[in-house]
Amino acid sequence: MTERTILKISHLRKEYDGRVILNDFSLEVKKGEVIVIIGPSGCGKSTLLRCLNALEDIQGGEILLDGNRVQKNSKNVSVMRQKIGMVFQNYDLFPHKTVLENILLAPLKVQKRKRSEAEREALELLEMVGLADRRNDYPRQLSGGQKQRIAIVRALIMHPEILLLDEITAALDPETVHEVLEVVLSLAKNESTMIIVTHEMAFAKAIADRVLFMEHGEIVEESRNPGEFFAHPKTERAQKFLQSFEYQGTKRCGK
């Protein structure tokens, strides 16, 4: 991690039909930093990622990536989005295109790269996620975990400055969660800058440089020491939230 701030969110405000989703949200992300956001459903964490990629318009504040404003309906929104990779919960590959075509679409059409060069990189990345042999398959022929790894490759080939991962394992079979998380962990080791929204607490602990606990569109607790945060959260709200991941009921009474 360097000291250079690449993403600066200041006083971000997002409303939906008058309902406040994000309120005065500020955050600075340094290059190479991995930020994990956790919190109950509806706390605004997914909306935050969608704002960062200009899929949502915002009602106040600003988002700066390398000093340039990220804003929906602005002229350079396509340029900014190329620098911000995003992977969604349901992978959302293009079903009518093969794995390779999915990956190559944006490099060829948006970045106007040479096919031979882009294809070489695509194959390297596929090799990295262990799916080079599936390059001519259609998404419907792949498992959830495989599709999600392809979606990560599709985002990576654009060389984004920052990668947003929105609950990328939430829709997966427990068995395939691992293979996806391994890929993300290897990206983190390679100094990729990432903001990760997840419900996988063990993974969050392993990968985070910084953990944010959100509720009602605000940061309730922030920690640069994930081990400490997960063991002893300071706020009562975070304690309660983390406890909900441990099952504490018992069939036997009086024990």
Partner: protein, 224 residues
């Protein structure tokens, strides 16, 4: 059993005349279908526009087409415009105008349905890659919509081909009209011709429409 009356077709150039009539019917439908599909794609995209006035205009257009019998439209365009505007449209041109007007609306509605059936996240994951709106339509949304459209639009195409038989009402001599003429001319010596000749007409329509619906099944299988 009585004679089926098919023998009439082998007299003189009767069968060739029937095929000639079929060619007219096919020509009118193919031109109309082509125009309908192309303009229907545009109409469909416009029907999903955010502009409410535009949406209303196309809604009214679609309703008019749905409510008006095609024959009334044919009469308006062929007879009506001549008196009121002084246009002297040929019968075949009038037919093509009416069928394209009808087809574009129906096709547009199918396109609209296919477009809105594509989940919003498909647009978003395309935008997230930096694709512009136009690129997103061209490479992501339209190809998927077309696959969903095929079975529905094939149905429309065969319906249009069958409906072209209405053009006899404005004096176009197509396959059905030729069939009638042949039957009329041979009423005395082949009174059963009505059965045989119309059965052949049925067969001809079948031969045109069947491959089209086979094609639809094939494409559906390939793309599913």
């Amino acid at each position: 059993m009585q004679s089926l009356g098919i023998d009439v077709l082998f007299k003189g150039s009767n069968f060739m005349r029937l095929l000639e009539g079929l060619r007219t019917a096919v020509r009118i439908s193919m031109i109309s279908v082509t125009i309908s599909i192309l303009s229907g794609l545009a109409v469909g995209v416009l029907m999903t526009s955010k502009n409410r006035v535009l949406r209303l205009v196309f809604r009214v257009y679609l309703e008019i087409v749905r409510i008006m019998p095609q024959m009334v439209l044919l009469f308006i365009v062929y007879f009506g415009t001549t008196r009121v505007f002084g246009w002297n449209l040929g019968a075949e041109l009038s037919a093509i105008i009416v069928f394209s007007f009808w087809g574009a609306a129906e096709m547009g509605d199918l396109v609209r349905g296919a477009l809105v059936s594509i989940p919003r996240i498909q647009y978003e994951s395309s935008f997230a890659l930096g694709m512009t709106r136009a690129q997103t339509y061209l490479h992501v949304i339209l190809p998927q919509s077309v696959r969903r459209l095929i079975p529905l639009s094939i149905n429309l195409v065969t319906r249009m081909i069958k409906t072209t038989s209405l053009v006899i009402m404005i004096g176009i001599v197509e396959v059905l009209k030729v069939a009638q003429q042949i039957i009329e001319a041979n009423r005395r010596n082949s009174p059963n011709a009505a059965f045989g000749v119309f059965a052949v007409v049925f067969l001809l329509y079948f031969l045109i429409c069947w491959p089209i619906s086979r094609l639809s099944t094939y494409l559906e299988k390939r793309w599913s």
